[in-house]
């Protein structure tokens, strides 16, 4: 055990996890913004915007994340000239963030939309019946309930994003799964303990967020 701990201390596990958390943070913000725009397009009464939003979601949701990440690194940057930074590592980090954002935006959109779908039509009818115009009805009656209904699916998307941040390994962003591979190759005697260590790290990050999401979504649930 103490030997294994000595092995562990040779590697910067925390630094690698920190990279996953950074990827998650930036991609989470960006996908929330893109997802909100997509959700607004899809719930608007305007057919052309609905069509564009639906097409985006159906195409991206059915594409493997790995393809999108590889596309960012092999096409977006070298072929189409999208460059976030002249520093190689920084550039790849942001390319990975871009790919993660594009992919998870479609799930954020669907999470928000399913939140709107939890609001019964009677709520909107009641708001109109007491004379509220469109914007006040949306602001005071519908969106507050829609947001509460969207907490659980948005939380699930966030958890998926944390785990999917490891896919940045496809373009050599030195996050935890790349470090794990390197450790396993160097320290062949400790393959299983290394896996358990990395896995428990994810359990420690993911399970509290899952519990918090469940707690919040139940606490804030609109009782019907």
């Amino acid at each position: 055990m103490s030997e294994f701990l000595a092995v562990l201390s040779n590697y910067d596990l925390v630094g690698a996890y920190w990279l996953n958390i950074q990827l998650t943070f930036f991609a989470g913000l960006a996908s929330l913004v893109i997802g909100t725009i997509l959700a607004l397009m899809r719930i608007s009464p305007i057919p052309s915007l609905q069509f564009a939003g639906t097409t985006y979601v159906n195409l991206i949701r059915n594409t493997p994340l790995t393809i999108i990440v590889v596309f960012a690194a092999l096409v977006l940057w070298p072929v189409l000239g999208v460059e976030f930074s002249t520093d190689f590592a920084t550039n790849f980090f942001w390319l990975a963030v871009a790919a993660l954002s594009v992919y998870h935006a479609s799930f954020m959109c669907e999470a928000l939309r399913s939140g709107v779908n939890t609001v019964p039509a009677g709520q909107a009818e009641a708001a109109r019946a007491i004379g509220l115009p469109f914007l006040p009805a949306a602001r005071l009656v519908i969106l507050p309930q829609a947001f509460r209904g969207a907490i659980a699916p948005m939380g699930n998307t966030l958890i998926a994003l944390i785990k999917n941040s490891t896919v940045a390994a496809a373009i050599s962003v030195p996050e935890i799964s790349i470090l794990m591979k390197e450790m396993m190759e160097n320290e062949g005697n400790y393959v299983i303990p290394i896996f358990l260590t990395v896995a428990v790290g994810f359990v420690i990050i993911v399970v509290p967020i899952g519990l918090a999401v469940t707690y919040l979504s139940q606490r804030l649930a609109v009782s019907r």
């Binding site: 899809r42 719930i43 608007s44 009464p45 305007i46 057919p47 052309s48 915007l49 564009a52 159906n58 059915n62 594409t63 493997p64 994340l65 790995t66 393809i67 590889v70 596309f71 092999l74 096409v75 072929v79 189409l80 799930f107 999470a111 709107v116 779908n117 039509a121 909107a124 109109r128 469109f134 949306a138 659980a152 699916p153 699930n156 958890i159 998926a160 994003l161 785990k163 999917n164 490891t166 896919v167 390994a169 935890i176 799964s177 794990m180 396993m184 190759e185 062949g188 393959v191 290394i194 896996f195 990395v198 896995a199 994810f202 359990v203 993911v206 399970v207 899952g210 469940t214 139940q218």
Partner: protein
């Protein structure tokens, strides 16, 4: 296209005019973005016919796309079978009356749902290399299948459990009322209905499995994405085009699978007292909270 009615009242003449105007503005913006993308692609020389000729060349399909697709489908097929078995075993285990067994199955399921598929894939591949004689493509394939089985099996186990919990209470009470034990009622009344109710979600989970075989790219399993990349790495460097085709193949397959899920949902709806519905393809890692079925 799903019409949302909750936010909007039935439009009057003025609202209809606004929608029409908005529709044109929206169409112009969307087409503008498409034109901009095409202009950029053209400027980068990516619309040249010789690049697109690469991906319609029969040889590209014979030596790259089809063998890659075959490996993808093989990995997906094995993973689907093993994940369903794993999921049924542990899902039923979580419903067992034996407390130790229930607890054990719960810990296993929660553990594998929390660990990224890629981490399990890399670890599975390395562990196989260290402790078994398996090597080469078999080792890569097994690495992919093990990871997909553990993660998706855990998700399927949750489907089984939430399927049973999602049944109306009266089903269990009716079983108990005619003198069945809790176990008998689970086995002969609740599980059969729960399994039928979960069929659509199960098919949706197959979409996740198919998509996640692409993670095999990272451990260099020769699946579709890997073979598309190889094709694009040689002259004349049609990398955009070959990745585009690989993505298109995935999109078509997954779209068909999700249509199957919807079809199944319609077919089995009347055969169970549970809620049979097709979830849209979830992101490849969903933690469904304890409140059944709300995860998407």
């Amino acid at each position: 296209m799903s019409r949302q009615t909750v936010l909007f009242d039935a439009p009057g003449p003025r609202a209809r005019r606004n929608v029409r105007v908005g529709n044109w503005i929206g169409a112009v913006v969307v087409i503008g973005i498409a034109v901009f993308v095409m202009v950029q692609l053209n400027a980068a020389g990516q619309l040249r016919p010789e690049l697109w000729a690469v991906v319609v060349d029969p040889d590209s399909w014979r030596y790259n796309f089809l063998p890659g697709l075959q490996n993808t489908l093989v990995a997906a097929a094995y993973s689907i079978v093993t994940a369903v078995v794993f999921g049924l075993l542990f899902g039923v285990g979580r419903l067992a009356s034996n407390r130790a067994l229930r607890w054990f199955c719960g810990v296993v399921v929660e553990f594998f749902r929390a660990v990224p598929v890629l981490v399990m894939m890399v670890a599975g591949y390395q562990i196989l290399g260290r402790f078994t004689a398996v090597s080469g493509t078999a080792q890569l394939l097994l690495g992919v299948v093990i990871a997909l089985t553990l993660y998706n099996g855990a998700v399927i186990a949750e489907l089984v459990r939430s399927g049973v919990y999602g049944l109306p209470k009266g089903q269990r009470e009716a079983g108990l009322a005619i003198g069945m034990t809790r176990g008998q009622s689970i086995r002969s009344i609740e599980l059969p209905q729960a399994l039928i109710a979960m069929l659509p979600s199960l098919v949706s989970q197959f979409v996740v499995i198919l998509k996640d075989t692409a993670l095999g790219y990272i451990i260099v399993y020769p699946e579709l994405l890997r073979s598309a990349r190889l094709l694009g790495s040689g002259a004349p460097f049609a990398i955009l085009q070959s990745l585009f085709v690989a993505a298109l193949i995935f999109i078509v397959l997954n779209y068909l699978l999700s249509k199957v899920a919807e079809l199944v949902a319609r077919k089995v709806g009347g055969r169970t007292s549970g809620k049979a519905r097709a979830n849209p393809a979830p992101p490849n890692a969903v933690t469904v909270p304890a409140v059944g079925g709300s995860g998407t």
